[in-house]
Amino acid sequence: MKLLTRYSQLNIAATIGIFLLGSCTFYFLLRYVLINELDSTLYTEQQEITEYAREHHALMEILPANDQFITYRMVDKPVSQRFSNTQLVVDQQPEPFRAVVFGLNINGRNYLITVSKPLKETQKLLAIIILVSVLMIALVLLVSSLINRRLLHRLWQPFYNTIEKVKGYKVAQKGLLELEETKIDEFSLLNQSITAMTERVQQDYASLKEFTSHAAHEMQTPLAVIRGKLDMLVQNEAVLKSNPAQISDIEKAVHKLSRLYQALLLLTKVENGQFVLDEPVAVHEIIEEKLIEFSELIGSRKLESFVDLQPTDIVFHKQLAEIVIGNLFYNAVRYNKNGGKIEINLAADRLSICNTSAVSVLDNERLFQRFYRHAEVKEEGNGLGLSIVKQICDMAGYRLCYFYTEDKMHRFEVLF
């Protein structure tokens, strides 16, 4: 939920609450005032009647009036004054009235006198006043929420700008994250903190990268020494004869380590953007070369290959193109099953390589991670082939996708 929406919700709820409470209070207050007003006119009337009685020792003659009814009744006991709401029937319709009841003693007789005035007008007035104020408040509420929405949106804009920039930020990118200046302290603090954080992250990343590169490099020389010594050691046939398995294992391990180093170094170079992608590359030619290179391997596994190539030229890096195609191709052959199939399709905008395999569907999430190996794969790859392909595609802005098709084929697609 957006902050703005949440804020508006709370704001409107609170306003409506306050508004309801206020309206009730307003209603009762207004009603009290109006009835009070009515009561005071009734009281004036009472005084007139009382005055008249005192002077003339008789009751005033009742004149018919629309807005006032007076009744006299003789009672046994004296009556005390009291205001009340009553209903009187006017034109066969019961209508609300406000009445004052009081007693008078004229010539030793007790009279009960009622003066009533209609409440209808007062209620009408009350209704109009309430309606007008409700409308006013609703209008104010609406307008203020609209203005808030606009205003808040504008005020929050620097925040959204920053978020947009942070979203597009990559640690590996060159140059610092540039955020717009803003006059609002909070946002400016946010921007400063983010900038400082990315600077730190970039420094850490740079030193980590440097470390990786140096570590890999420093490993090379001892590795070269081991290999050199091993080459010298095997020249001694007596040694070789007594330890062929051990020497062979050391040899294999050194080979693997040096391969791993080369792969890691390549990854680092791709990450560092040390390749300039400005060579025209004929993709179909590279695929044809690879087909020849792999022909022995394909033949030995009795694979059937279906190749459909459209001449495709892209601006890329020849060596990297060979690595991408070679890696995908090699996987398609290596993880195939004997007597399986390989399909290669090259169109102007995409390259797809499909293969049958003894291995079931791959984990799309982890497939391109370094050192990921499928659980069913026992062969000793270094687990970097696909992450190299992915890294190169990312750098070039190509999309690399993996699908597991219905006829149980693994399909890798590069969208140029």
Binding site: M232, P244, S300, Y330
Partner: protein, 225 residues
């Protein structure tokens, strides 16, 4: 043939010297930039094996200096840096070859041999081993003066064996030599076995001795028993 080895890692330096010396080269070795400069200024070499990162200076600088003063010496750069830029810079400045660490000594030796062959155009381009002769320029193999037809891979294999004669070549060294950068085939020795089998069969058929021996499943060696 005189070779200068410039490498600051003593054990590696020693291995290179030992291996190349066993190939009948005369080797001298230095471990620093200053020593290398001194040697280059006062002696003549056929080939220099040059490390890039040296105490006291860069091998690239040394190469630059060498090319300004000297003319015909072959240079092979060995470096732990697999940076393409370095490679290009090295080759541009007149290095003849580039070898990334860790390398097989046999591979280095075969590259040194190739450089020396190229530099000595006037000299013989025939490499002989018993009754087998290879004309490196024409890429022709003869056994007892009879031409022998080999495939490209078989030819490479034979040349590699003969240049490193009497040395044990591990399977990975052979595979790497044959397929070089194509790491996919390097890991699978089956193809190498097939090529070696074919080469041995062709050599035997043409009347050459069976000189290529498999050694305890570890590697191969060409030698007169």
């Amino acid at each position: 043939m005189k070779i200068l080895i410039v490498e600051d890692e003593a054990p590696l330096n020693k291995s290179i010297v030992e291996y190349l010396s066993s190939q009948k080269y005369r080797c001298e070795s230095v471990m620093t930039y200053a020593d290398a400069l001194e040697k280059i200024e006062s002696h003549q070499y056929d080939c220099i094996v040059l490390d890039i990162m040296l105490p006291g200076g860069s091998g690239i600088k040394l190469l630059q200096q060498l090319r300004e003063t000297e003319k015909e010496v072959g240079v092979i750069i060995i470096s732990a840096r697999d940076q393409i830029d370095d490679k290009i810079a090295g080759l541009k400045l007149g290095a003849d070859d580039y070898q990334t660490k860790p390398f097989h000594l046999a591979e280095l030796s075969s590259r040194v041999a190739a450089i020396i062959r190229r530099k000595n155009l006037s000299g013989s381009n025939m490499i002989r081993f018993e009754e087998i002769a290879i004309d490196v320029n024409a890429k022709q193999v003869t056994v007892n003066e009879q031409a022998l037809t080999l495939t490209r891979k078989e030819y490479d294999l034979l040349l590699y064996f003969i240049i490193n004669k009497n040395r044990v070549l591990s399977k990975s060294a052979i595979a790497e030599h044959l397929w070089g950068d194509n790491m996919y085939l390097v890991d699978n020795y089956d193809f190498m076995y097939a090529h070696i089998k074919n080469l041995r069969r062709k050599l035997l058929k043409s009347g050459a001795g069976d000189y290529i021996r498999s050694l305890y499943g570890m590697g191969y060696k060409i030698s007169v028993k």
